[in-house]
Symmetry: C2
Subunit: 220 residues, 2 copies
Amino acid sequence: VGRRIGHVVLPHEQVIDLLAQAARDGRHVVRLKGGDPVVFGRGAEEALELARRGVSAELVPGISSAIAAPELAGIPLTHRGVASGFLVVTGQHAAGPGARVDWELAASFSGTLVILMGATRLAELLGTLCVHGRSPSTPAAIVQHAGRPEQRVLTGTVGNLPALADMAGIGTPAVVIVGEVVTLRERTRRHLEAPSERSDDACRSVRRRAVPSGVTGDQG
Amino acid sequence: VGRRIGHVVLPHEQVIDLLAQAARDGRHVVRLKGGDPVVFGRGAEEALELARRGVSAELVPGISSAIAAPELAGIPLTHRGVASGFLVVTGQHAAGPGARVDWELAASFSGTLVILMGATRLAELLGTLCVHGRSPSTPAAIVQHAGRPEQRVLTGTVGNLPALADMAGIGTPAVVIVGEVVTLRERTRRHLEAPSERSDDACRSVRRRAVPSGVTGDQG
């Protein structure tokens, strides 16, 4: 049961029905998600909904694109003397009534800021950071299709990344990274093997771990 | 090549020497770390040090205890209407000249705060949050040995967790979680299978993914 932004294959409620029914039929059911089920994956929500229907569940940690996407692009979330922490937020709402993210706090954070599900409103999100005092010259990057052969990475600044991404036609799924660690990519990329440069075998194995197949659009 | 806090088995420099030498001998070398290599794991640092010695490397994402430890304790880092983001920091330095963490910002963050490597100075860290205005009644939890059969979880508040952990003798390695999501554990634990309640097979498989064996003490 997959989904893409804007293309709901099956309503969420029906997915739960399906899981509960299969479990009641005596089967062991795996609900496979991209990334980690509790990083914007509604994992606990689904487990609790299942519990209400008498079905117990287990949450199995996965590799979150919040960490893996920057890493596969040669951008470490933490690095001694550069960033000693990271903040992960959803980019689904920038300013406005739907915003539950404290963008003022995000703008003033000195570590690495990771924005998931923010590719479609990149200009609005990075603009919001600037409004709250973040310098437009802060290094920023966007990683699309992390871990896949078609992985694309763009680096720039908070000020120019939206235009760069627009020109390059970068779309979802993508992860946005803001902070000084982005500058490490230039140093690491010369020495790190990019997914597309790996042998097919290595590529497949990394891809399998980073982005389980069968689910697309989930950014957790 | 393992390490524990306070028990350095081999100096870091010698580990790099070892890796570089083995690679120069024509071998493929795997440097296995607990968790993810770029979440306080010095992964990029080691890759750059190796590059200086003419050895290229690949960073392979892992499952970070920052996400997996709370999750295995039934605490989702994000949950609709409760937390729409999370902040991960190191607890190795609280106040004082060594502190590169903005504890004032951490104290005012409305999402989930995750502190890695903070078990040994729990009272100091949570006290620092209070000094910066965090309410002592904020839910907080500590998870020791996440994913292992000996996993232990304590929940309480920012105010009482240090005393509870002290009484229970909770030590390293442990992950500290601060925020409203901690209260979800009581709801999820009734329905989620805890690692110790799982069949041996399931337990082994989760453990293998969450905490690669051979490395202890790393909290990334």
